[in-house]
């Protein structure tokens, strides 16, 4: 079943068109990779899907489980199962990670008409997940991402993903700034979440990440459009020949 359908999407930022008619369909259980040079609009696409303000959709639509995503507030999208692991997770001083996780999880549950998770159940779950991601407990007592290394910030995103159990996970440049060990831990965390009901969209500049998270479908993005889609061998091809051929195509 189609989980996410992006149809002929045109998006402007500050009067400038960034996405020029982008089409993308992601089905349940699939892992998609979106590759493309810097500035091709990958983060813009992820932000528009998550509902970040400042983007003007001038044409096209985005359906999530058949519903019009663009009509929903960001928090509604989250509660319905859209999760964006940010390229640059923000630091929130004064809000402990633990408090943030619990507040967010319960807000999502409330929006879905589910009861709040009891504190012991919640703590147990956080402990399990953070252990598997190699996140020390005292990190959870600190302000969200405050003083975290690049790798810790990315792992914190994966931690949230594991906790919130979204049906669509978009990972924006999860590999940027990570050394190989940190990358492996984060990728293992992501792979552990792979399930027949859940889809992943892995945005990356480099092929390297796709050695750890193996995609079913690879899309090449250039200048605000998907210019080519194919199997995982496309990633390898890109690694060898670079993006230049597609820049001209776009």
């Amino acid at each position: 079943m189609a989980l996410l359908e992006v149809k002929d999407l045109k998006v402007r930022v500050e009067e400038r068109e960034i996405l020029h008619g982008l089409t993308l369909t992601v089905n349940e259980g699939e892992i998609h990779a979106i590759m493309g040079p810097n500035g091709s609009g990958k983060s813009t696409l992820s932000h528009v899907i998550a509902g970040k303000p400042g983007y003007e959709v001038t044409d096209g639509q985005i359906l999530f489980k058949g519903e019009d995503l663009l009509e929903m507030a960001p928090e509604e999208r989250a509660a319905k199962g859209v999760f964006l692991a940010f390229q640059y997770p923000v630091e929130i001083p004064g809000v402990t990670t633990m408090n943030f996780l619990r507040t967010a999880l319960n807000a999502q549950r409330k929006a879905r008409g589910e009861s709040e998770l009891m504190v012991p159940d919640f703590l147990k779950k956080v402990r399990e997940v953070s252990k598997s991601l190699n996140i020390p407990q005292d990190m959870l007592k600190r302000g969200v991402n405050v003083g975290f290394s690049g790798g810790e910030k990315k792992r914190n995103e994966v931690l949230q993903m594991a906790l919130f159990e979204p049906s669509l996970c978009i990972l924006d440049e999860m590999d940027s700034g990570l050394d190989i060990d940190a990358l492996r831990i984060a990728a293992d965390g992501v792979n552990a979440l792979h399930s027949p009901k859940r889809a992943m969209v892995v945005i990356t500049h480099y092929q390297r990440l796709l050695n750890y998270i193996v995609p079913d479908i690879v899309h090449v993005m250039s200048k605000g459009r998907v210019v080519k889609s194919g199997g995982k061998e496309l990633a390898q091809e890109l690694e060898e020949s670079g993006y230049a051929q597609f820049e001209d195509a776009a």
């Binding site: 929130i92 507040t103 967010a104």
Partner: protein, 434 residues
């Protein structure tokens, strides 16, 4: 009463204020004479207005207009209502001293449970004896008015070396609508004392009342004292409070103010570090909404060398609220090695809210380390979006960020219980916004 707001009528109405109250004011003829003199000072100056530098941002003539007549002494019904309010606002384990409409209420207070190292009398008793309580280091119109009109208060003296495990909580309760209460208290803290003093201002059903309070406090050497003020008066009330604090040597003083109520409020504090080696931590939070006006004016006077002062103030302003923070650090010529820092931040939740932050350094010594910063701004959109993208609705995302913002001041409260209590007050304020 209308006469009072008319220009030509001001003097007359003001005189009525004093003469009609005179029968209720404690004091021998000589004390009454001192009060009359104070009243004349007030009458000559009138309510402070914007052309008086210290009151530039808090023009009481424009904001308040007239001083309401003295509240009647509370009757049985008023005391009954006050008793309910005491229950609701008492801090766990605290020894309560309750003032209802400016009059000490013995039956609602825990005088007998006070430590034997704390001597207590009412300000009424003190003023019946002499006018000592009426003298303050500086006088302006509202302080003079307070000296003239104060009906009661508490006079506490904490003996040298006392280690008080229970906090002392002075609770001001307003039951009388459209009337004024004037209170004046003195707290003398001896050497080596460990104590916590809390002051709470609350309404028991009363509306549109005015409070004018003065606190005279001295803290001896080698002491460790927390002084917490929680002002949650009715949304249409006025609260003007003046604090005079003198600190001895090698003492730690932790003061905190929380403003969550009153249409118009001003807390003016005058803290003098008069003994070497002392550390002052003075902090506060103003949570204001609608058209509330909250002013914190704090003068920290480093009179001697080698003291540290730290000030962290936060204001959160919704709707058309107006917050004022005037912080002055004075470093006297002898006060070398002074270390004084002040950080004021205002969070504007609405385009129509206003923050006036005025930090001032007056430094007369050359070997000092002093600094201040002041900012005002909205919530960070990128943080808000991050929280929303994780499922928090707008108001809840704001609430989380606001808690973090005020937390920077609240975390300066050393006592765990008190800090949690104050966090609870902030949380309830945020819930009212939802």
């Amino acid at each position: 009463m209308n006469v009072a707001v008319a220009k030509t009528g001001k003097g007359r109405a003001v005189s009525d204020l004093f003469t009609s109250a005179e029968g209720r004011l404690p004091g021998s003829p000589s004390v009454i004479a001192a009060r009359r003199e104070a009243f004349e000072t007030y009458e000559r100056l009138g309510l402070p207005h914007r052309r008086i530098e210290e009151w530039k941002y808090t023009d009481l003539r424009a904001l308040v207009g007239e001083v309401l007549p003295l509240a009647a002494a509370p009757d049985a019904a008023a005391l009954k209502r006050a008793a309910e309010a005491v229950k609701a606002h008492a801090i766990d384990g605290a020894r309560k001293l309750v003032l209802v409409d400016g009059v000490f209420a013995a039956d609602l207070s825990d005088v007998k449970a006070l430590s034997s190292e704390v001597s207590f009398k009412t300000s009424r008793e003190s003023l019946e004896k002499d006018a000592g309580l009426l003298t303050t280091a500086s006088t302006d119109a509202v302080i003079s008015l307070n000296a003239a009109m104060a009906t009661d208060g508490v006079v506490l003296s904490i003996a040298d070396g006392a280690q008080l495990s229970a906090p002392i909580q002075i609770i001001h309760i307003a039951t009388a609508a459209s009337a004024s209460s004037f209170t004046r208290s003195r707290v003398a803290v001896g050497k080596g004392v460990h104590a916590t003093i809390i002051e709470s201002f609350v309404a028991a059903g009363a509306k549109a009342y005015q409070i004018n309070d003065a606190v005279l406090m001295t803290v001896g050497d080698d002491a460790d004292v927390a002084h917490i003020r929680l002002m949650d008066d009715a949304p249409d009330a006025v609260n003007i409070t003046s604090q005079f604090v003198t600190v001895g040597a090698n003492t730690k003083l932790n003061v905190f103010n929380m403003t969550t109520g009153a249409a118009v409020s001003r807390l003016q504090g005058f803290i003098t570090l008069a003994g070497e080696g002392s550390e002052l931590s003075a902090n506060g939070v103003n949570l204001l909404q609608k058209t509330e006006h909250g002013d914190t004016t704090l003068v920290v006077d480093h009179a001697v060398p080698n003291c540290v002062s730290r000030e962290v103030f936060r204001a959160v302003l919704d709707d058309r609220a107006h917050s004022v923070f005037q912080g002055r650090i004075i470093v006297r010529p002898d006060a070398q090695k002074t270390d004084g820092k002040m950080m004021i931040r205002a969070l504007l939740l609405s385009d129509e809210a206003e923050a006036d932050n005025k930090p001032e350094l007056e430094i007369f010594a050359d070997d000092v380390s002093c600094g201040h910063g002041a900012t005002a701004g909205a919530l960070d959109e990128s943080l808000l979006f991050y929280l929303k993208a994780r499922g928090l609705p707008e108001k809840q995302a704001q609430a989380l960020l606001i808690q973090a913002f005020v937390g920077e001041a609240i975390e300066q409260i050393a006592d765990d219980n008190l800090r949690e209590h104050v966090i609870g007050i902030a949380e309830r304020w945020l819930e009212r916004r939802q």
